[in-house]
């Protein structure tokens, strides 16, 4: 029986008078690959923001690896094992690719300002370890030839991959991908599917995926949750979802 990594119990959030997400629950176990889909404006990214700590839910709780994290800051949650990518790429544009990935290693380092300034043995041990790890991740994602390039100079598809690499460097138990295929052409999407599969095997992490590209979601997800207007309307395997009447109505209208 695999352990639960991420659990949301009836989370809701209200913006002004608008209930953006209403009683959303989800439970993700170790190593699962889960899809979260829904029409535009359904509240998918809002759910993400509550899970990763950008918003505090109005009601309900979020648990991460058995700990209640409902009120924790995003950076504290990263330490507990969740990491994410963004819908519109948010890289550290003027830093090198390697440095981008190493930023995420910060949570695994504990050398002090003193160690940093006087470059003690501890500094080199931890920095070298971080570099090694970063290189390994970049190699898996096929970015090792770009390590000294500035992030903003990478082509679009590589920037997406770099975001995933950066998210992986914090050694997450669950990785949240917010529309990783947005703006990609079919070939790039295909490549991304492969990448996600490899990442899951190599780094042993659960993955929660928001996506519009049905081919991608149906192709790789183990099970899928569908939300519409902030409410959950269906949960099931790709085949079940494809034949669910409510889902079809939500996407295509009556």
């Amino acid at each position: 029986m695999a352990n639960t990594v991420l659990k949301a119990n009836n989370i809701s959030i209200v913006f002004g008078g608008l209930k953006a997400v209403d009683n959303f629950s989800i439970e993700i176990k170790e190593g699962e690959l889960v899809g979260l889909i829904g029409p535009n404006g359904a509240g998918k990214t809002t759910v993400f923001n509550m899970l990763t700590g950008v918003y505090v839910p109005t009601s309900g709780t979020v648990e991460l690896c058995g700990k209640d994290v409902t009120k924790l800051n995003p950076h504290k949650r990263v330490e507990l094992g969740i990491s994410r990518t963004f819908q519109n790429i948010r890289l550290f544009k003027r830093m090198s690719v390697l440095e981008n990935v190493k930023v995420s290693s910060n949570i695994h380092m504990n050398y002090s300002v003193f160690d940093g300034i006087f470059k003690t043995k501890k500094y080199y041990e931890q920095e070298d370890l971080a570099t090694e790890e970063a290189m390994e991740i970049l190699k898996v994602l096929g970015l090792e030839e770009y390590i000294n390039e500035e992030a903003q100079n990478l082509p679009y598809g590589k920037q997406r991959k770099l975001e995933i690499a950066r998210a992986l460097a914090s050694r997450p138990a669950i990785l949240c991908l917010d529309e990783p295929a947005a703006g990609m052409n079919p070939t790039e999407t295909e490549e991304l599917m492969e990448t996600i599969k490899i990442v899951r095997e190599k780094f042993n992490t659960a993955i929660l995926l928001i996506e519009h590209d049905m081919k991608l979601v149906m192709g790789i997800c183990e099970w899928i949750k569908v939300i519409s207007f902030g409410k959950e309307i269906a949960t099931g395997t790709p085949v079940e979802i494809r034949n669910n009447k409510e889902v079809i109505t939500a996407y295509l209208g009556e």
Binding site: V54, R84, F92, M95, I117
Partner: protein, 361 residues
């Protein structure tokens, strides 16, 4: 000693040679009258510009109150020096103390005890400034960003300036002045600059520096990568005010009478320097500081310079700013650092030319 193994030897040697040359210049500059003053100002302005560059260039937050922190360092150093001199005059007798602290500008040397006094005073003043900077950062940085933070820092520095102006013990309207005749030497200021440059380079190379740069590029992404954004900002701001305190305290031993320009004019001057040098470029700040000091203290006092310029040296700054923004918005060095490579390339090119010329023959 791992750092030594990993350094580019050529650059290291070039830098050491450069510093040695500067040291020699600093030692022998005391023979002339004008040179020590210019060197002192260059080194101190560089330190203060570097301090501002950490927050504005590396952290990417706009700060308008840098002069206020320099003023705190300056005032603290002066008050400390006054107290020390009172204490020593009482216990040792006036004559001996003067002997220790007297610094004859022409060909004179500072008594070794004078160095100790200055260094201790500077360290204490810097620590006090850092504590004030830490408190200000804690209050302002956590909740504000962008324009709002700039306005808060402007307000805080106005408070400092006006408090100093209105309390006679802190200088009053004319500014505080050191009653003892102690002055520092270019050598001491150079030592501080080199030490601070090394400090900043190693700091920015550590995880704290990386976090600061990450916050500059994207706050939200940094937070999502596990970087404690608020803490990082406070660390950067405290570090910056520590260095500003050092700059201000050193200035106290060079410029015994606080100029009325202290405060807002200083804040603007250092903003101009770091924009001119390139935001985020450490060596750029130093180059720009050199240019500005040379312009104010050497160019403007030349006899052939039109009187209009000599009387209003600051009039050109506005023009400089507009021109930089229009034609090279990233500053002299942009985000790059000064390296010795161009220096070696210069020779290489010459060699290549020689070879081609010989080939032609």
């Amino acid at each position: 000693m791992i750092w030594f193994k990993r350094m580019n030897k050529r650059n290291l040697i070039s830098t050491v040679v450069g510093v040695l040359v500067l040291t020699l210049i600093s030692i022998f500059s005391t023979k002339s009258y004008e040179l020590p003053k210019i060197l002192n100002l260059i080194f101190i302005y560089s330190i203060s510009a570097l301090a501002l560059n950490i927050v504005c260039g590396c952290l990417g937050e706009f700060v308008l109150g840098h002069g206020g922190f320099i003023l705190i360092g300056y005032t603290t150093a002066v008050i400390l020096m006054q107290q020390i001199s009172k204490l020593f005059t009482k216990s040792m007798g006036k004559v001996y103390f003067k002997e220790i602290l007297v610094y004859v500008v022409r060909g004179g040397e500072l008594h070794p005890m004078g160095y100790v006094f200055i260094i201790l005073t500077v360290i204490v003043a810097a620590l006090i400034t850092a504590i004030i900077g830490f408190v200000v950062g804690l209050i302002a940085l956590g909740r504000l960003k962008g324009d709002y933070l700039a306005i808060v820092t402007l307000g805080i520095s106005l408070i400092f300036v006006n408090v100093c102006k209105n309390f006679d013990s802190l200088g009053g309207g004319t500014g505080i002045s050191i009653t003892t005749t102690i002055s520092s030497t270019p050598l001491l200021n150079l030592a501080f600059l080199v030490a601070i440059l090394i400090l900043i380079l190693t700091f920015m190379g550590s995880r704290f520096g990386r976090n600061i740069l990450a916050c500059r590029d994207d706050n939200i992404a940094a937070e999502a990568c596990g970087v404690p954004v608020n803490k990082t900002k406070v660390i950067a701001f405290t570090f910056s005010s520590l260095l500003a305190g050092i700059g201000g305290a050193l200035l106290a031993f060079v410029q015994p009478q606080a100029p009325t320009a202290f405060g807002q004019d200083m804040s603007i001057l250092f903003l101009i320097i770091i924009v001119l040098g390139g935001l985020g470029s450490l060596t750029g700040s130093i180059i720009a500081a050199i240019l500005i000091v040379l312009y104010e203290n050497w160019f403007c006092v030349q006899s052939w310079v039109p009187e209009f310029f000599a009387n209003n040296p600051k009039i050109i700054y506005g023009i400089i700013l507009v021109l930089i923004m229009l034609f090279r918005s990233s500053g002299i060095l942009g985000k790059n650092e000064f390296t010795w490579n161009w220096f070696y390339k210069l020779f290489k090119k010459k060699d290549n030319k020689k070879e081609t010329l010989e080939g032609d023959k």
